[in-house]
């Protein structure tokens, strides 16, 4: 994929004016992670309501245009959805939203950092909640596997 194809208007717009940018006080879910590559560094905040849906989501941090654009899109996809549906979001969903399916392996880490954080953070949220129940449920194992194999 040549560079000119990557930097289309949507990416530039999202990166200049990120959606859901900010923080939440006392969020139900919080996680930080980063990429050693370009120093992308993202904090993800989420609140969960009684229906087990993501009622609020914010992200904060620094990153390249691809990272910020993809994180914006991901938060849009996440907000208001049931947790069970959120964990089904896969990398193609995020990449195709911004036409980045053919991104090379070095840059794919920028695009998918926030999805990795999303999956790992929900994994630990659910693990904590299920402490007394079956912590090794198939759903959780699969979620962790998904998160570790994004890139």
């Amino acid at each position: 994929m040549s560079n000119s194809n990557i930097y289309h208007e949507m990416i530039i717009d999202y990166s200049r004016n990120p959606i859901n940018f900010g923080t939440l006080v006392k969020p139900d879910i919080f996680m930080h992670d980063s990429n050693p590559l370009c120093g992308d560094s993202i904090d993800l905040y989420m609140n969960v309501n009684n229906e087990q849906s993501i009622s609020e989501v914010k992200f904060n941090g620094k990153g390249c245009a691809i990272c910020i654009a993809c994180t914006s899109v991901l938060t849009e996809m996440t907000k208001g959805k049931k947790i069970d549906d959120v964990i089904k979001i896969n990398k193609t969903d995020v990449l195709s939203e911004l036409g980045l399916q053919k991104l090379n392996p070095v840059r794919i880490k920028c695009a998918l950092l926030s999805l990795k954080i999303l999956k790992f953070s929900i994994y630990s949220y659910l693990s904590d909640k299920m402490k007394t129940e079956d912590t090794k449920s198939e759903k959780l194992v699969k979620l962790k596997e998904d998160a570790s194999h994004l890139y």
Partner: protein
């Protein structure tokens, strides 16, 4: 048989060094493959191609040739996973070779998990690389190192392992899948299943086995596995360490530096994801890419062809050696239980003298203790001569070896 000879001849054409002559007109006969193997032109070209066309650092830079280099490097990891039947390529760490792999385990797993009075079990036929790192560790931790002995046919006395395991303090059993001196193929699955019953970790040194026989890591069910590229037609300075994921997750870093980190602050650092946490600094990119070509080359020939050819050559060589008086062969003569390695002594000729006499005829064999002095003590010899084969060796070369041995007998008036 004719077709096999033909195909071996065409394989030989891929190895430029096999055309070499030494001492004027002596064609090189290379029989030291347990030490290192020769490289086919395909491997040499792939390294050449990297330096000529896409030399760049991996994982960090985002430009085109860096993407090509990163792809080639990571594709090697995937190829090795397939070659050794490893389910997750992220369980593979690139290292300098088997020696570094074992040291990594001794440091990053051993320093965290071994404490006073714990026991590490190894065997009498190990290479120094599977002894010395454990000696260093047990001295530091006041732990103990124990050996599984070998019997007269050069096989491990596995009932001894049972008695070690019964004592309850064993934390790791570490052994080579094929002896680099005797060629003995270890009954790895038996050892591992014994260890599993006692919840004891197992490490396999696959330096000699991986190049010469089919290895299936999933099926073996060990915890650590190490091997080196240069013993399987690949370049020097590259090897792999496979670690079962849940074990790797609990290990401390080996080397600190670039690429193994996620975030570095003045007094605090977080580690990169696995396996990169264990790959500090710019790795040996060119040779990892060369390693990939050597696996392609072996896959094209087929491991069964390699194994059959070496069994055949070993049987042939042993039958010829048996006709010479005063040759003592160490280990088993049964080639179905051995890799393509024969260690021997010839009357009272010191192996170094014998190797020099053979060298005058262009024949390269190894003489010495083969980095296995513990085994030499057991065999009660200071050294042995060692012949070791690979897929490009021929019976014609063995005939020349025999002629040269007969010359040595005459010189030493045997």
């Amino acid at each position: 048989m004719k077709t096999q000879t033909t195909s071996i001849n065409s394989i030989r054409k891929d190895f430029p060094i096999l055309n070499r002559h030494v001492y004027g007109d002596k064609q090189l006969i290379y029989l030291d493959n347990a030490s290192t193997t020769q490289k086919p032109i395909q491997v040499i070209n792939s390294i050449n191609d990297f330096y000529r066309n896409y030399n760049s650092n991996i994982h960090r830079s985002v430009y085109s040739i860096a993407n090509e280099a990163t792809n080639a490097y990571e594709n090697t990891r995937n190829k090795i996973a397939k070659f050794l039947n490893i389910s997750d390529p992220k369980e593979i760490i690139f290292v300098r070779g088997t020696t570094e792999a074992i040291n990594l385990v001794a440091y990053s797993w051993g320093r965290k998990n071994i404490t006073k009075n714990d026991v590490i079990v190894t065997t009498e036929y190990e290479h120094h690389s599977n002894i010395v790192p454990w000696q260093l560790l047990v001295k530091e931790k006041q732990a103990k190192l124990k050996y599984i002995e070998i019997n007269k046919s050069g096989e491990l006395c596995l009932e001894q392992l049972d008695s070690y395991l019964e004592c309850g303090n064993v934390k790791l059993v570490t052994f080579s899948q094929m002896s680099n001196v005797l060629g003995t193929i270890t009954d790895s699955k038996k050892i591992i299943s014994q260890c599993r019953k006692h919840d004891v970790k197992t490490l396999i040194d696959g330096a000699q086995s991986v190049p010469h026989m089919k290895v299936n890591i999933n099926d073996l069910n060990c915890d650590f596995f190490a091997c080196s590229a240069h013993k399987m037609l690949g370049p020097t300075g590259v090897g792999i360490l496979w670690i079962r994921k849940n074990v790797m997750e609990e290990m401390i870093p080996f080397h600190g530096g670039g690429d193994m980190i996620k975030e570095v602050h003045k007094y605090d650092t977080t580690w990169n994801d696995l396996p990169y946490k264990f790959e500090a600094g710019t790795p040996n990119i060119a040779d990892v890419i060369g390693f990939s070509s050597s696996i392609d080359y072996i896959n094209n020939i087929g491991m069964d062809v390699i194994r059959n050819h070496e069994e055949d050559l070993r049987d042939y060589t042993i039958s010829k050696l048996d006709n010479i008086k005063n040759i003592v062969i160490y280990g088993s003569k049964d080639s179905t239980k051995s890799g393509g390695i024969i260690s021997f002594n010839f009357a009272d000729i010191h192996p170094h003298d014998l190797a020099t006499i053979l060298d005058e005829d262009g024949i390269a064999i190894r003489s010495g203790h083969h980095c296995a002095q513990v085994l030499m003590e057991k065999l009660d010899v200071p050294a042995t001569s060692r012949i070791s084969f690979y897929v490009y060796n021929t019976k014609n070369e063995i005939d020349k070896l025999i002629t040269s041995l007969e010359k040595a007998a005459r010189l030493f008036k045997l």
